[in-house]
Symmetry: C2
Subunit: 295 residues, 2 copies
């Protein structure tokens, strides 16, 4: 019975909005959930829902076979975990680190865990806090296969889809970074377009249906271009790089004529011009991906 | 009968890939189509399909009540149209300029047309060449209402959806620029993500389904944020600007650790950091749009 309890117990370190959402989903799934946060008082609502409040990281770590960490970045992870009392408590147990950072930091954390006899999985949460515990949540995982499959039932209590991307521990963070790259660059483009439109007397709500139309074009293009990247080809899809650079220049001129910073598009135009300068003027824009990767 | 012929006749100036597609769609719709291009020989296939090849711009302009111009930019438009023989031929007739450029250039072209007794509509083609003549084509128009409605039947022969955005002549170009801003910034993010993923050992086809997933998030976000922009609010949707800047830094560090230029994301991060520095750290990223627009 105590083994059963420990197997279906989980510890959550870090009770920011995402950590609280994770702990709440574990509680909703009926798991014995122990929580800890550096700043006290963040666990009140969770304790009212049945969570066990630990007084220290080591006490929290000792309470479950599985500890999920979700804090601001890996500097914070290191501050919390890299103390003797904590490593002693975690020895032989598993840490699933859902904190966002770079692939190199994930690799460094895995090396530290291996040195201390701690089993380690790295993960990334791709969807915002309100999705946790719902079918809309998306989690990416990397690390040892056996370890992932052992803890998969508990992790799936978080809802949504979970994808194990392989044993290379940096893989989840690498996907995370690449997908954040797409998302936040696109958002920068949208925010800038809203500013330029506003300066031209176009309200955001007037632009919205057309902006949505542009957004609708992107998913199939993202998917379709992958085949070209793999093949090393680069069809222009009606927009050769020379024409793309010209469009980008129109954006920059219109923006700057209104005194609106165009640094993002200037950087993008630089990539297009560089590719044109290297003889790729009739290629499609995706040729830029290959040139970026050349050292 | 000759009136009927002239009413349903159209001239196309500029026979690049887009101009040829426009002329082809007019021919398919059974319109008497006269074509001209600066570099000869581009009209062969169109003539075989029934187009009339004009020997000069003025001859082409005189052949129809409506002249559609689609060339590389407004410098090229000016070179073609701003000659006495041509303005004489166009006097009392209508020019629909589907060439892409900035709103200021559209306003300048309209002023020139008014000075010479030429009626003028400006437009933008939002979809690539292969969509022309199909339901997927998207055209934006601006200029006098009566003039647009007079020529609407001929313009609709180009297929797809046509939206008249209002009488302000720069409006179509302003929408065009804002939408190109969204599209090409997003594409820059995708190309960069592909390069970073590749450096991390992730093939474009492995990233593709997740990249598509990110793309699927964008259209409703673009639409939904419009209401916040209008209201001057900025909910964080689970991602306050401090967290966004942190994500952006992860992208930059991962990219630059592989020797991959991160100029686009560095510029985007700069916008986020600027907003944070102005006290907006707990706002959502869209706050950046408002700050960009402040002079």
């Amino acid at each position: 019975m105590s083994v059963h309890t420990e197997q279906s117990a989980v510890t959550v370190l870090g009770l920011g909005p995402m950590g609280r959402a994770l702990a709440g989903a574990f509680l909703d799934a009926g798991l014995r959930t122990t929580v800890w946060n550096r700043t006290p008082g963040r666990d009140r609502e969770l304790v009212a829902r049945g969570a066990v409040s630990a007084r220290s990281v080591e006490e929290a770590a000792a309470a479950s076979r599985l500890t999920v960490v979700c804090v601001v970045n890996y500097d914070a992870v290191d501050t919390i975990l890299r103390r003797e009392a904590v490593t002693d408590a975690l020895k032989g147990r598993t840490v699933v680190n859902l904190t966002a950072d770079t692939p190199d930091r994930a690799r460094d954390a895995a090396a530290w865990a291996a040195e201390h006899g701690i089993r380690y999985l790295d993960g990334a949460i791709m969807t915002p806090t309100p999705t946790i515990g719902t079918p809309a949540a998306v989690f990416l995982h990397s690390g040892p296969n056996d370890l992932y499959h052992k803890h998969q039932p508990v992790l799936e209590a978080l809802g949504g889809t979970h994808t194990h991307l392989g044993e290379e521990i940096g893989r989840a963070a690498a996907y995370d970074v690449a997908l954040l790259d797409i998302f936040w660059t696109a958002m920068a483009g949208y925010a800038h377009a809203v500013a330029v439109a506003h300066a031209e007397g176009i309200a955001a709500r007037e632009l919205a249906p057309f902006a949505k139309g542009i957004g609708d074009l992107l998913p199939p293009i993202f998917e379709g271009l992958a085949a070209e990247v793999e093949a090393g080809t680069s069809s222009d899809e009606g927009s050769p790089l020379t024409s793309v650079a010209s469009s980008m220049a129109h954006v920059i001129h219109t923006s700057e004529a209104h005194g609106i910073d165009a640094g993002v598009m200037r950087a993008a135009e630089g990539l297009a011009r560089r590719a044109i300068g290297q003889g790729h003027g009739t290629d499609g824009f995706i040729r830029v991906a290959e040139l970026l990767g050349r050292r």
